[in-house]
């Protein structure tokens, strides 16, 4: 973690390390060795599966665990109902998996596991991961849109009631705003996660170097930084939830465009 000059390197936590497999494991020129990113995505999936399986009991009087799972599925169901309507029900498995995976990946990356010597890795702090999730949502939007409306789907780029002289201007603007969606969707989650972790790391650097430098800087820099870190940690928990929610919400809004046009 430490580099020269005794500073903490804030981006070292995002390094991808190969856990097993070598550089020679490749398909089509891409290395497929099992990395720490894959490990934490696998852990996220297992935790999500255990969480849902433990609560899927169908008891008439639900216990605490079942209530928690029902709350989460009901939340996503309401989100789809409110944004798409009745037709939104068929997207529930996809949007729930997306929401659950992002939420659990964000939360697991924040766990203070370094206390026991394990370094948590936030899979969603890499653009490759969030980008693939965003492209997946975008591909479903395109697939549903073209399957349901055929070439009429292009009327999405000309809002209802646009005056004819305005069409040459409106069409490219709407097209660009549509094409930029997968980037903005993936970029938002990736940057929000990365920024929070970099901020925490920079503050922890202040605490470490402030404590090492003497009593004066300990009280002047290290203690306030540490108090701020606790606050930022709480904020990061909020951001982890909000970003998962925003990703699911925007997926719903985009699916609504594909399902109902404008």
């Amino acid at each position: 973690m430490r580099v020269a000059e005794g500073k903490v390197d804030p981006v070292h936590q995002f390094t991808i390390e190969t856990l097993f497999g070598t550089d020679h494991w490749s398909i089509g020129g891409y290395n497929i060795a099992f990395t720490n990113s894959s490990l934490w995505m696998a852990i996220t999936t297992v935790v999500l599966l255990v969480f849902v399986a433990g609560g899927a009991k169908r008891e008439l009087v639900p216990g605490r665990w079942q209530m928690a799972v029902e709350g989460l599925t009901g939340f996503v169901d309401n989100l789809l109902q409110a944004n798409i309507g009745k037709a939104g029900r068929k997207y529930l498995p996809y949007v729930f998996s997306l929401f659950g995976f992002i939420l659990f990946a964000n939360m697991l990356g924040l766990l203070p596991l370094a206390l026991v010597g394990v370094h948590p890795f936030t899979a969603t702090s890499h653009f490759t991961v969030t980008g693939v999730l965003a492209v997946m949502s975008f591909a479903i939007v395109l697939g549903v849109g073209f399957a349901k409306h055929g070439l009429h789907f292009f009327s999405l780029f000309v809002p209802h009631g646009t005056p004819v002289p305005m069409i040459p201007i409106i069409f490219p603007i709407e097209l660009i705003s549509f094409m930029v969606r997968p980037f903005s969707l993936g970029l938002r989650l990736f940057v929000a996660m990365m920024a929070g972790h970099v901020l925490l790391e920079v503050l922890s650097g202040f605490v470490i170097s402030g404590t090492n430098a003497g009593v004066g800087t300990f009280f002047l820099a290290a203690v306030p930084s540490f108090v701020l870190m606790i606050g930022i940690c709480a904020l990061e928990l909020l951001v982890a939830g909000i970003q998962a929610y925003v990703f699911a919400l925007l997926t719903c809004v985009y699916l609504n465009d594909a399902e109902n046009l404008h």
Binding site: A82, R188, V191, A192, A195, I242, Y245, V246, L249, L250
Partner: protein
């Protein structure tokens, strides 16, 4: 001025964008609360739109953070 210091200055200037986006995010929630206190009954139905507005405002601030990160680590 050499290129390295110009990069760092540019990254610092990008932080202005992040600060301004925080004004935007604050504005989104302030206006929502203002409206929600006037008509609490309609507030819950508008939470989706609240978060869409929040996401749009926040994205622009995050983009300036990306610009800063690219200037420091990539460019």
């Amino acid at each position: 001025m050499d290129a390295e210091s110009a990069k760092l200055l540019g990254a610092g200037l990008a932080a202005v964008g992040a600060g301004l986006a925080s004004l935007g995010v604050g504005n989104v929630f302030a206006k929502f609360l203002e409206g929600a206190l006037r008509n609490p009954g309609a507030a819950d139905g508008q939470q989706g739109r609240l978060f869409i507005g929040f996401a749009a405002a926040e994205l622009l601030g995050l983009l300036s953070f990306v610009v800063a990160m690219i200037l420091i680590f990539v460019a």
